[in-house]
């Protein structure tokens, strides 16, 4: 058990910290979930990419640094500590990219990855449908064979597509075998949204931003080169991605450590309202953020040494999502009657609270995750 990072890792941390201090936008960018904010975020993503900080763990040929998992975690800690912007590319680089690395052809990797990471082609996730949320296997959007054009014709609807109104591409599951039941007969497709046959309608999120979209497919076309993995085997391909979503990559501990640190600062700045009972809860949240960090370090050690993560990732998802809500709840209690304000110096807490509330819902509700923990970690019976 060695708690020290290597000199090389510490040097990487120092370098990243210096670059971030010099380059992180100040004042902070507006929300990336509005049209204008999204564009500004893409500029930032481009800046990151040019400095090879966009996707540090990727191979150099796709814009990365071949960084180790440890270096990636270090970068994430520094990124959030520096107050750097939310990554609007995250659904591409954290959810789709691992799947492309695992299932994609060399051609797909060459064509897609660097443009995804640079923000030239931002990707959104087409998972949910109006009647398939928690029950993802219930999707009904179809992809029908179009032999003439060598590809597939899409029909149906996706919904709750994060930043779908601003992205150029969508990845998702479509039914390619109408006879097959539930988990079978789906194919993982990569869809260019910039074509006729696709209509995107922005949906206003809780916080007023147009962060969601409904995507309607009306004979939209996907060429064969944009099938990811095998036809009709999309469920297995997608599960690899949802594993990523719940696992290491989407919510790095650095993010919650940064929020916990800001919460401590907030409590110190409000001595009149920071009662001992609220400070006790601040401390508890700070402990939890550190618990998440060290639990992640244990997981990374296992991965680095050739191990795998399994259904334990459901515990991770439950933990960070509910921690994020708690961190913001405590902040709002500290703010008392100022909590409801969405202007002024404290507005980011209410904004952050609303964002945090999505955590227990998306990427598999926490109710579903707790079922997974009970059934697959503890071995309780499904029925």
């Amino acid at each position: 058990m060695d708690l020290a990072f290597s000199p090389a890792e510490e040097a990487f941390r120092a370098e990243a910290r210096a670059w971030l201090q010099a380059n992180v936008p100040n004042p902070p960018l507006p929300s990336g979930d509005t049209k204008d904010g999204f564009a500004l975020h893409l500029e930032w993503e481009r800046q990151l990419f040019d400095a090879r900080y966009a996707v540090v763990s990727w191979p150099e040929e796709f814009g990365g640094r071949n960084a180790s998992l440890w270096e990636w975690l270090i970068f994430e800690e520094e990124y959030w500590l520096a107050g750097a912007p939310q990554r609007v590319t995250q659904n591409g680089i954290f959810l789709l990219a691992p799947t492309i690395f695992e299932f994609g052809t060399a051609e797909q990797q060459q064509r897609i990855l660097a443009k995804m990471a640079s923000g030239e082609e931002p990707w959104c996730q087409g998972w949910s449908e109006p009647n398939a949320g928690s029950d993802l296997a219930g999707i009904s959007s179809t992809a029908t064979r179009d032999d003439t054009n060598g590809g597939w014709r899409l029909n149906g609807q996706k919904t709750w597509t994060t930043r779908g109104a601003f992205c150029t591409h969508l990845f998702g599951l479509f039914r390619t075998d109408p006879e097959a039941e539930r988990h079978n007969g789906m194919t993982y497709l990569l869809v260019d949204l910039r074509q006729s046959g696709i209509t995107v309608r922005g949906v206003e999120r809780l916080d007023g931003d147009e962060g969601f979209a409904e995507v309607f497919f009306d004979d939209a076309f996907v060429p064969d080169v944009n099938v990811l993995g095998e036809v009709n085997k999309g469920w297995g391909v997608a599960m690899a991605t949802t594993g990523s979503e719940r696992g290491l990559t989407l919510r790095s501990p650095g993010r919650f450590l940064a929020t916990a640190t800001k919460l401590i600062e907030l409590a110190k700045s409000l001595p009149d309202t920071a009662t001992p009972e609220l400070k006790d809860r601040v401390t508890q949240a700070w402990i939890d953020a550190h618990a998440y960090r060290w639990q992640t370090f244990a997981t990374v050690t296992k991965l680095v040494e050739g191990g795998h993560t399994g259904p334990e990732s459901s515990m991770v998802k439950v933990f960070w999502s509910e921690l994020d809500v708690r961190l913001h709840e405590i902040a709002l209690e500290l703010l008392g009657p100022h909590a409801e304000l969405i202007d002024g110096e404290f507005a980011h807490w209410m904004k952050g609270y609303q964002f945090a509330l999505s955590g227990p819902i998306y990427a598999g509700t926490n109710e579903i995750q707790r079922n997974v923990i009970a059934e697959r970690v503890l071995g309780l019976p499904r029925k």
């Binding site: 919904t159 709750w160 809780l206 409801e340 819902i361 509700t365």
Partner: protein
């Protein structure tokens, strides 16, 4: 002992409820979010016409001579629809003290609620200060707009009032009425959040069954309903204590506001979680009620603030007090 409302009180409540369903439904509330004042088109006038706004004014002053118990169900009904009107400020704070002209509205600031909702359309701005009540006409103040997460709730910071305060012993009573009315609104909001969520959970299907048949969804909503069940009696009891000018009425109001705030937070969280992603959009009505609940939970003293008042009381009180 009779811990229930009279038939007259219930009939009046039902009339207010029906009126508000006509004048402050979700569609009308969405209009208020988008318009200039944040207020509904017709609810205030309708409530005024039936005498509700000025109900707590003495009959000699043109009111109905209502006491706090008479008024509390009106307050709760106004919460149930997230009424976008300064009804608590006017009906429960300004009108019984004759600080506002009949039919017009008041705005109120207190140390625990420093931003006055709907102040720009108020006749008077009332400040409940430690040393008494100050009241000014809106024209004599400078209002600085602030933005609330609740889009209908137009907030304003008010320029400081440097006048010497009129000596007044009514300030504690006025604050308690405001906190109590807000507690009643929070109970109404909790009820509505639970109702719309139950309706959604019965209709929405996943895995081939309504999501309301899953035990986790059931238990979220059962918890919220139980919290409400045990908050509401504290609100009604505090109303009666205020009416009776009970020496402990301040403690009773604090119990009511703490419990109602907590119940509303539980209802909001359970409702959002049971709605899932649809609740995370503004297309579902839930957010209209949830955001009001967030705002009111932190107004007129949040739950922790009121618990601290009670803790201080318990440290002084002889054991056995109830």
């Amino acid at each position: 002992m009779r811990f229930a409302f009279t038939e007259d009180q219930i009939a009046l409540h039902d009339a207010v409820r029906d009126l508000l369903n006509d004048h402050s439904n979700a569609a009308q509330l969405r209009e208020a979010w988008g318009n200039e004042t944040g207020r509904t088109a017709s609810a205030w006038g309708a409530l005024h016409a039936m005498g509700a706004i000025d109900a707590m004014r003495a009959e000699a002053d043109g009111g109905l001579g209502f006491n706090e118990v008479d008024a509390i169900l009106i307050a709760e009904a106004s919460g149930r629809v997230a009424l976008a009107e300064p009804i608590i400020e006017t009906m429960m704070v300004a009108a019984p003290l004759n600080l506002v002209t009949i039919g017009l509205s008041a705005a109120v600031v207190t140390h625990e609620s420093p931003f006055a909702p709907w102040a720009d359309t108020a006749e008077v701005i009332i400040e409940l200060a430690a040393d008494g009540i100050r009241s000014r006409h809106r024209q004599d103040t400078t209002l600085t707009p602030r933005s609330s997460v609740d889009g209908a709730r137009r907030l304003f910071a008010v320029s400081p009032n440097t006048e010497v305060a009129p000596a007044s012993t009514e300030v504690a009573l006025a604050f308690r009425r405001g906190a109590l009315g807000t507690a009643a609104q929070l109970c109404g909001l909790s009820e509505t959040m639970i109702t719309v969520t139950v309706a959604y959970a019965k209709e929405r299907k996943q895995f081939g069954v309504p999501i309301g048949s899953f035990q986790a969804v059931k238990h979220h909503l059962a918890n919220a309903r139980t919290k409400l069940e045990f908050a509401r009696p504290l609100v009604y009891r505090a109303a009666a204590s205020l009416r009776d000018r009970d020496a402990e009425a301040g403690v009773h109001v604090s119990m009511a506001k703490a419990a109602a705030s907590d119940a509303a937070m539980v209802a909001a969280k359970a409702s959002l979680q049971c709605h899932g992603a649809i609740g995370y959009t503004t297309e579902a009505d839930l957010h209209l009620y949830m955001k009001r609940a967030w705002a009111l939970g932190g107004s007129w003293g949040d739950a922790a603030w009121h618990r601290r008042q009670i803790t201080n009381h318990l440290e002084r009180a002889p054991i056995g007090e109830r």
